[in-house]
Symmetry: C2
Subunit: 341 residues, 2 copies
DNA sequence: ACGTGTTACTGACACGTGTTAGTATACACC
DNA sequence: GGTGTATACTAACACGTGTCAGTAACACGT
């Protein structure tokens, strides 16, 4: 393995100083280099197959041109795994557009929650996107206070840390409005997760407001709580079916949980959508292939990734955006399970 | 934003030289530091919340402690997207275990195929995992010849570049053997992709060998070619159903393609598995939720990621493994579509 | 002849760390 | 009392780059 060429080698070959090499290769503006010299330097660099050492460049410039995506592995594994490719593609695409690299850093359950801080403190990256933030993370607040560029994917109530998320409440409203428009009045709900999760509370609130808007009284007996997975959906649906007055439609605020709900309905010999209509949330890849295909609320994974990265890079580059709390709209995807066709 | 503390600040506070700080914090062996001094240094570092600057460290040590996963976005988008989370988790887990970071670099269709070489040439990383390599990539061969650490995910016939892949042929054999054991003799096959792809050829070869082993003659009319997506599977199945003598079972070498095949069967009013048994390949997340649930060959995404990263890191650290062509075994997942239950 | 400005470059420093070679002291050994 | 050795540290260099201050040559107007 021959020694890597440095800018010194290029300078020697071109018969100029190292400074000139740097000026030419970086296309520094407002500096005069004769066309012949410029050409000689470029030719020498090409001939030696010279690539600048990014570590040295990082050290002297103080910029890493790298952002990191920190991925907390929580209990909602399945859903988030389906979400990752889109999000990551959005992040990397925006990063590339602005000339940044992307470091991917999952935090495994056996690691401390703040295992990611070294990325910031050790100058690994110029900024961080944190997916699935915890409010008890003091390191997070410290870094934000010190002005380190951060963007959250998901919400952290009570802070002004820039964040990107989907508009959960409006998404849930759209879903429930759709069921109301189809004539349903007795509409049950299964949440995606316990109410400790912000998204769960917001989706429930959307359900509530849609009912209110239509003049349908809110009935607590019709609300059950999912817990990310299929099994929790099955149990929640069982509970709703045990009611004296069964719902004619159910809004399940997570496709994964909805899969369990559909199974419970099938086990009870009930047809979807004829006997009970179902609408989900998330639009995971599987939903379109279910029988019946699941009507659901699409979450724009790519858009979230793109927005998060773009917002972060703006902050890094000192451009202070006037809106740092980005909420993307969802979209209702009508398939078979709601009975609209 | 106050200035970041450097090792010089720590040294000053602890009343020692910068060298001593480095020796203490890196726990350099075979060097004698008195317990009191050691304690003073650690205390000073803690007090200043000192983290070493990795760019400086990288520059002087010549090591980046980073590996990159290069992700070519090819035509098999859907399948590979489902594959990414597992692979990435495997890569990052192995990386963490050995103290490496992971840079994720997708190559978009509008980029040149060798857009990733700057990662190697510019000393961004100590080594690369390339997913979906192309054999016409001369930059790849150059780097390998120069001794740059590389591991391929997927195979590149005719080179000795270390690679990690699934044993496609044996996986296909297991699937077809299963159908043979269930009594089927007229077994069709739909490939996952055109035969230009190594994996397609290998899976077809597995089908062939399993038939041969059972004394069933190979009939070219029973073989059709998929092209990654659902629609190609539907068309291939249509063609098989148009045969005078229809198959009683079909091995579809891709779950995504199998979904299309199932749709064609449904459209023809045929029941699965009663009229036609189906076995897929890949075990994408959706397969278990199909109706009927798809029997398929599980591909260990996590294991592939883990193996690739571990192999790469071994190579980086100068440990020359005697086996550089890793082939992981698949596992048949029996569900409903094969009729074994 | 003189000052001014422009062009085309270069020398030297700085970034923050790891590491080698070296120094000063203390102590043991015959 | 000289030699050898272990202990506890430090001074100085190196990694490869970006950039600021400076310089030599030359043109130009008066």
């Amino acid at each position: 393995m021959p020694d890597r060429p440095t800018s010194r080698d290029v300078a020697r070959l071109a018969g100029v100083s190292r400074t000139t090499v740097s000026l030419v290769l970086n296309n520094v503006p407002d500096v005069h280099i004769s066309p012949e010299t410029r050409q000689r330097v470029l030719e020498a660099a090409r001939q030696l197959n010279y690539y600048p050492d990014v570590s040295a460049r990082r050290l002297v410039s103080g910029k890493t041109s790298t952002i990191a995506l920190v991925w907390h592995r929580g209990p909602d594994r399945t859903y988030r795994d389906g979400f990752l490719p889109g999000l990551l593609q959005g992040v990397t695409r925006a990063a590339r557009q602005y000339g940044y690299y992307v470091l991917f850093r999952p935090i495994e359950p056996d690691e401390p929650d703040d295992a990611w801080v070294e990325l910031a403190r050790g100058r690994h990256t110029d900024g961080l996107i944190l997916s699935g933030p915890r409010s008890d993370d003091t390191a997070l607040l410290d870094l934000h206070r010190e002005g380190f560029p951060l963007v959250l994917h998901g919400q952290l109530p009570g802070t002004d840390i820039p964040s990107v998320d989907v508009d959960n409440e409006s998404g849930a409203m759209t879903a429930v409005r759709h069921l109301l428009a189809l004539g349903h009045r007795r509409i049950g709900m299964v949440t995606n997760a316990p109410l400790a999760y912000t998204a769960s509370r917001q989706r429930l609130e959307g359900y509530r407001r849609a009912l209110e808007e239509a003049g349908v009284p809110y009935d607590e007996a019709l609300v059950r709580y999912g817990n990310f997975d299929e099994e929790s959906g099955r149990q929640a649906m069982e509970a709703l079916l045990a009611l004296a007055e069964q719902p004619t439609a159910v809004f399940v605020a997570s496709d994964m949980v909805a899969i369990g709900a559909l199974r419970a309905l099938r086990e009870h010999g009930l047809r979807v959508p004829e006997d009970v209509a179902v609408v989900g949330f998330d639009d995971i890849a599987t939903s379109r292939y279910l029988t019946p295909a699941l009507t659901t609320v699409h979450v724009p994974a790519f858009g979230l990734g793109w927005s998060a990265a773009e917002l972060l890079i703006r902050i890094i580059e000192g451009d202070t955006p006037n809106e740092t709390q980005v909420r993307l709209e969802t979209e209702l995807v009508v398939r078979e399970s709601c009975g609209a066709r």
